[in-house]
Amino acid sequence: MFYREAGQFKTSYEADGQILPIRQDRIALLTTLAIALLVLPMVASPYMLSAIFIPFLIFSLAALGLNILTGYAGQLSLGTAAFMAVGAFASYNFVLRIPGLPLLLAFVLGGLCAAMVGMAFGLPSLRIRGFYLAASTLATQFFVVWCLTKIGWLTNYSSSGVITAQKMEILGYAFDTPARKYLLVLAVVALMALLAKNMIRSNVGRSWMAVRDMDVAAEVIGIRLMRTKLLAFAVSSFYCGVAGALYAYAYLGTVEPEAYNLDLSFRILFMIIIGGVGSILGSFLGAAFIVLLPVFLNILAHGLALPTTVASNLELMVFGALIIFFLIVEPHGLARLWQIGKEKLRLWPFPH
């Protein structure tokens, strides 16, 4: 009843092109943002902030990056963690080697390095498609981690290949408590999500989707495949790179190259598939699902007082089973489930 667009008329194309055309959605988003920005840092416990919200936001950003590449441009990739690693290690080196470099600029530069690596490894996508491409992107994954272990310079010759992220300071303001780190991450993620949404609703985004849906046809209407795909790789890797840098700076602190292993790549892939391939909201929902579910299951298993080994294995099984369950319920992910829910709400109280 309350969720209707009835009575909301668009009088200009501009108004119609808004990110959320329905007023209720806009209000909901703004409320969420306001809560995230103003209320959460006050009320959430440090545990929630530093162990749940920060990784959730960082993973959302990485998932968003992968979603740009896989969900929008249709190039399946298993090398996400590698791009994150490039972003993190590059940012580290920028801060280390250029004294006085503003931190945010270092993140951007780190992201750009990731973007360049992304483009280099995106080149084969011009010829290779689907799972062939996916499997090939593993080359990125292994190669980047290998380089980081081999090239001492990248880790400032630390004997163990480990880097320690420098303190986060912007304009003399130290981001050292969970709440501050959280706010920084939130700001970066919100801004980048907005940019992503803008890209998606303008020509770049449409070109990506066109290439995803039918690349031959896209070529015929004048979309240049090479440019479009490489741009997708670059933008996606940029996002992942920044996410990787945040992962090191705002979350783990000290990281070894191994932290960006294949496992991480997979987890991010799960996020977008569970959340919704080709949906910005889906990146967030998916990240929430993958970050929260194991925690939830873990707590639940403890509540049941099962022997830990049994509990841990059951956790894994339930996690797997839930993935399958959600795919069966809605193959297009949580975002689609959400959308269907809204459509039903719009029709409510009538079933159809």
């Binding site: 545990y47 530093s50 749940i52 990784p55 272990t149 783990l252 000290t254 194991p294 830990t308 080994t309």
Partner: protein, 413 residues
């Protein structure tokens, strides 16, 4: 429950390293159960909570954050994973919770002035590497006999495998043996080319710096290529039943480092009697009692309990100590042979005496050999490598870290 001494156990019981994880954490928990059954630490019961990390840094951090405030606050944490240890390295000083890293992690964390809250107890990678060379020297009939020998360092191609290189390289130039470095791409389930290279190089010894499946594959592949197993010397992460059992007969004669002397101890008997007989044992399979990982867990348990005792001695008996106080306890451990005997663990691990400068507390190691069924110690005494060299490396490296992090090294009170 309030009034308990709470310990956070971010454990892993699924995934590739589950076997090790269940043994190790099982050992800790068994010991805690035993201590509780005996009335606790001066009457203070120990409580703990596990949290599944799957050996994954980000889940590990979540576990740490979740557990650290439980039950009035965790007072010590042991992730048994380098990645997780790094992930919480920056957090523990802020939360004032000491972290132990038994036999892994940053070797330079032995310097308590820079890493006040980190305790690489008993022995770290560098001590181990030095101990290995010492052992090989002794075996060859003296350190001077190492000259002209060829030693292959077959390592897991990751931060872990590269960790001992500073020590090995320094010793190679010092003693004049040739060091051949051969990396294995993780996870290491295929090593044909490496072993062909080894066969080609005809080394005197092979140091196996492996982890997980890489170890059993190395042993198997050595057999397949006809390399004698008793010339292989593994690190302690390549020296458990989990590493030799899958290789079957191929592992007979294989040697590895350890910081526990294999065998039976009064403690184990007591455990069987008081914990397992009552069905409270943590291991599903009783034959694993006293296995390498289990014993390592017991050792960790002993360390914690001794640290609790030490801390209680200072801060007041009969009540739980805070993380900060337990840190002090860990920094002032003194488990000599007499104490070991009291605990029923005489010679199970080297004597430990920690201080602010030395969070390691020992640095002694042993060599054990697999006889096809069980590990047997083959060095009667504890082996200690070149302490001076190690100290220098630790100071250099931790100094660099301190500079990068802008820390002024100092001892905590």
């Amino acid at each position: 429950q309030p009034g308990d001494q709470f310990v956070a156990l971010p454990s892993y019981r699924v995934g590739p390293y589950a076997a090790g994880g269940s043994g190790f954490y099982g050992g800790i928990i068994d010991y805690f159960n035993l201590v509780n059954a005996n009335g606790g630490v001066n009457g203070v019961k120990i409580s703990w909570e596990e949290c599944e990390t799957e050996y994954n840094p980000s889940r590990g951090v979540e576990c740490y954050e979740r557990l650290k405030t439980k039950n009035g606050g965790a007072t010590v944490v042991e992730p048994l994973s380098t990645g997780i240890a790094y992930g919480i390295l920056d957090r523990i000083p802020q939360d004032k919770i000491p972290m132990t890293t038994l036999g892994y992690g940053r070797s330079d964390a032995a310097n308590g002035k820079v890493f006040p809250y980190v305790f690489p107890l008993i022995s770290n990678y560098w001590s181990q590497a030095a101990g290995m060379i010492k052992y090989l020297g002794d075996k060859s009939g003296g350190m001077d006999k190492l000259k002209g020998k060829k030693i292959v360092h077959l390592y897991h191609d990751s931060a872990f495998g590269k960790e001992p290189l500073p020590v090995l390289e320094a010793m190679s130039s010092q003693y004049g043996f040739e060091l051949v470095k051969i990396p294995v791409a993780p996870p290491g389930s295929e090593q044909q080319s490496q072993w062909l290279q080894i066969r080609q190089a005809k080394p005197d010894y092979v140091i196996l710096w492996g982890w997980g499946v890489m170890n059993s594959v190395a042993i198997k592949t050595a057999q397949r290529n006809g390399f004698p197993r008793d010339k292989m010397l593994g690190v302690w992460w390549a020296g458990s039943e989990e590493d030799t059992v899958p290789s079957g007969d191929a592992a007979k004669g294989y040697t590895s480092m350890t910081f526990n002397t294999p065998g039976n101890y009064p403690l184990l008997d007591e455990l069987r009697k008081k914990v397992y007989a009552g069905g409270k044992g943590n291991l599903a399979d009783q034959t694993r009692i006293g296995s390498v990982y289990h014993m390592r867990g017991l050792t960790a348990g002993v360390m914690y309990v001794e640290a609790m005792r030490t801390a209680q001695d200072k801060f007041g008996k009969g009540k739980p100590v805070s993380g900060e106080q337990l840190r002090w306890g860990l920094e002032n451990l003194n488990i000599d042979e007499a104490r070991q005997k009291v605990l029923g663990v005489h010679n199970m691990f080297p004597t430990v005496k920690t201080s602010c400068e030395d969070h390691e507390g020992s640095g002694a190691v042993k060599v054990q050999q697999w006889d096809g069924k069980a590990w047997k110690a083959i060095t009667p005494n504890w082996v200690v490598g070149d302490k001076v060299l190690l100290r220098k490396l630790v100071d250099e490296s931790s100094g660099k870290y301190a500079a990068e992090k802008k820390i002024t090294p100092a001892c905590l009170k």
